[in-house]
Amino acid sequence: MSLFTGVRVAITGGTSGLGLALVDELHRHEARVAFVARGRERVERIAAAHPGAYGIVGDVSSKDAIYPMALQILGALGGLDILINNASDLGPVPLAQLGDTECEDFERALATNVVGPFRLTKALLGALAASARNGSGAVVVNVSSDAAVNAYPAWGAYSASKAALGHMTRIWDTELAAEGIRFLSIDPGDMDTPMHTLAVPDANPAELKRPETAARQLLDAIAEALHGQVTPAGLETIAVESEVM
């Protein structure tokens, strides 16, 4: 039995990369998992491979999708202890300088990386606060990037959206710490994921972090936030933004 056994977790972007690794890891820990992704076929396949996990077909960038998503998460899990806003959009692909970025690509990055997490968090806030009041604790993780703090050329849409997400995370945390809800902005590092391949097609996968490793480190950070436990392994490679700043 682990710290995550029976804990109710929702993950967006749960069918590839870090999200899928989190679903795998949490399922292994016997957490109760609901995950969201846009592609029905992948959602169904990954749900079937993780008996007990609840797959939701939905797009976090769509306003109309958020409450049906929240309803299914809360109905299927009977509440929520941890929300991981992991789904991300790069903006233009291939990456482009801001002056070459189409407005629609910029808007889509903001919709997926900032507005979507805002809406979903807001819809689930009551459940998270209930979990905190009842002693289970509550954590929201917003998956960030070093691009949120560094000005890399051609990463403008993604960077700006992740910077906004990071700042929103700090404000959520300030406003709701007294309710017992912790908000973490976590940079998992450069991982060998489909998204990274889209962004940097010529990267050497051998030099990138495995998403499974990042998932374990992220769960260590959540465990520390939930239980105040010191988890020495790996945390130094994760930038919890409040520590970076």
Binding site: Y54, I56, D64, I66, Y67, P68, M69, A70, L71, Q72, L74, G75, A76, G78, G79, A123, L125, G126, A127, A129, A130, R133, N134, G135, E175, L176, A178, E179
Partner: protein
């Protein structure tokens, strides 16, 4: 929300018109505010009565068996063709319904298991897995609509800020008065906050005979943390302030007689009215209710009829809004010197299950 009004009815029968934002100022530092954190289901499902092929609207209205952890069986009200733009009073009856009839509601299929005390009132069972039911409700269900609403309601309209468990059929609307800012202000003043979950049922069917049976039995759950917070409040000499009539019903049903409550699940079966002796709820923030409704009857447990008559005149003369998203009344319970009468039906008390 900032423009909402609040009528304050104090324990000594005085009335004051306030802005609803003033609510926190009426509380005392030792008080405990208890709200219903139920989220509202998309309980209206349009579909087809398979044997006749006729269009129907099913409004889920209660948990058949009283257990929301088993989302397969519901009590439901069935309408014939049409939608919310026709007043429910004017909606046609559904085709004749019989046990065993299949119905199709979007991606969901269900079977009528019983026709209850009225041709509109049935129990039904969904023929799907737990997960598929949630998927079907999310995809096809809509919140129960109101003819008075300017635009069709969607889920974000009917979830309060603190909505957590999707178990209510209509919103626990008194909770619309709460905001996270208000909870922060309460905390800063030493006022504690706790929640229960109560599966608020429908408030009106538009059918007089059916409305006589409201509210249906409503399951609730009181967390251990809330029972403890109430016990702590008693020790501190504070008041238990209920946000909404559903909270009053749950807390009084779970009363263990000394102002405290038992944690766990139960089914609130009793009707609270002028003859009820409240032992847990010391004050109530509620919506504006019309005399003659079950919600108004509950107010009569807090104040005498002459005070409530004055309050009723005040809300009418000042044009308070009486619908689900309208204004509020905050009413303190008159402290009578009557002996405590336990109001719970004996058979109902057996339904309380400790956590």
């Amino acid at each position: 929300m900032t423009s909402a009004k609040l009528l304050f009815v104090s324990a000594d029968g005085q009335l004051r018109h306030l802005a609803r934002d003033a609510f926190v100022g009426l509380l005392r530092p030792s008080d405990l505010v208890v709200a219903n954190d139920a989220a509202t289901l998309p309980a209206s499902l349009h579909g087809v009565h398979v044997p006749t092929g006729e269009a129907i609207e099913v409004r889920l209205a209660g948990w058949d068996g009283g257990n929301w952890h088993d989302p397969f069986r519901f009590t439901a009200i069935v309408f014939g063709s049409g939608d919310y733009r026709t007043r429910t009073e004017d909606r046609p009856l559904p085709p004749p319904l019989a046990p065993g009839d299949p119905i199709r509601l979007g991606s969901l299929s269900a079977t009528i298991t019983n026709v209850l005390r009225h041709p509109r009132l049935v129990s039904l069972r969904f023929n799907h897995s737990h997960d598929a039911i949630w998927r079907g409700l999310a995809g096809h269900g809509r919140p129960i609509q109101y003819a008075h609403a300017a635009a069709p309601l969607v889920l974000w309209d009917v979830w309060t800020r603190i909505a957590a468990a999707p178990v209510a059929f209509e919103p626990p609307s008194a909770g619309f008065a709460l905001s996270w800012h208000m909870l922060s202000k309460m905390r800063a003043r030493g006022i504690r906050f706790a929640t229960i979950t109560h599966a608020a049922g429908i408030s009106s069917t538009g059918d007089e005979a059916l409305d006589q049976q409201l509210p249906f039995d409503e399951p609730y759950e009181i967390p251990i943390a809330t029972a403890r917070a109430i016990a702590h409040t008693r020790v501190r000499g504070g008041r238990v302030v209920a946000i909404g009539t559903t909270v009053v019903r749950a807390l009084e049903h779970a009363s263990i007689g000394d102002g405290n409550v038992r944690a766990g699940r139960g089914i609130a079966t009793e009707h609270i009215n002028a003859g009820s002796r409240l032992v847990v709820a010391d004050a109530l923030l509620s919506g504006i209710h019309e005399p003659g409704t079950s919600h108004y009857d509950l107010l009569r447990a807090f104040a005498d009829d002459s005070t409530l008559d004055l309050a009723d005149q005040a809300v009418h003369s000042s044009a308070y809004r009486a619908h689900e998203f309208g204004d509020s009344i905050f009413i303190e319970r008159v402290q009578p010197d009557l002996p405590i009468r336990v109001m719970r039906a004996p058979e109902a008390s057996a339904m309380i299950v400790s956590c």
